[in-house]
Amino acid sequence: GIQVEQSPPDLILQEGANSTLRCNFSDSVNNLQWFHQNPWGQLINLFYIPSGTKQNGRLSATTVATERYSLLYISSSQTTDSGVYFCAYSSGNTGKLIFGQGTTLQVKP
């Protein structure tokens, strides 16, 4: 079946460091999104990025659909970046998202 794999599963950074999170998916992509889940459980939309590159402040993302992967870049990390980062994607037009297992990021002051 359709699979989504995220790496690394856990990441500890010192404040100010940069990081790259990866998401591999097994099928052609219609929708790919990155989310940040805060400590209260709320999912915050970071990027809708089925292809190409986008940037929003210290965050940027790139999806190479032909090679079935997406990357999330976090630069100059801050303690508030801590939490779980999920990628999720759908293939086709059903609207159903399949989530990866997440990357748990801890940024230390």
Binding site: N31, Q33, L43, G95, K96, L97, F99
Partner: protein, 116 residues
């Protein structure tokens, strides 16, 4: 984008009881989705709710346990029935916003359920 109001935000319930979670969207949408996130796990789709028809459940989820209502294009409820401690999870509703193939998913704040 879409603004989704979900309530309650959290609840502690006795085993054997039922809890109904409400999800209100600020615009009309065709499909609404319900997800479950068990402790320390990722999100899993429970069902897709279309207005005017029965919800479509994913493998491993059944209507008797998770009945869903979709009375109009801006509202849906999910009931967790006959709860056990294993039902302790975060439940989230979601909708898509956009046009055609270019649609983005948005989520409610989630309902953190603890069953004791």
């Amino acid at each position: 984008s879409a603004v989704i109001s979900q309530k309650p935000s959290r609840d502690i319930c006795q085993r054997g009881t039922s809890l109904t979670i409400q999800c209100q969207v600020d615009s009309q949408v065709t499909m609404m989705f319900w997800y479950r996130q068990q402790p320390g796990q990722s999100l899993t789709l429970i069902a897709t709710a279309n207005q005017g028809s029965e919800a479509t459940y994913e493998s491993g989820f059944v209507i008797d346990k998770f009945p869903i209502s979709r009375p109009n294009l801006t509202f849906s409820t999910l009931t967790v029935s006959n709860m056990s401690p294993e039902d302790s999870s975060i439940y989230l509703c979601s909708v898509e916003s956009g046009r055609g193939w270019d649609t983005e998913a948005f989520f409610g704040q989630g309902t953190r359920l603890t069953v004791v």
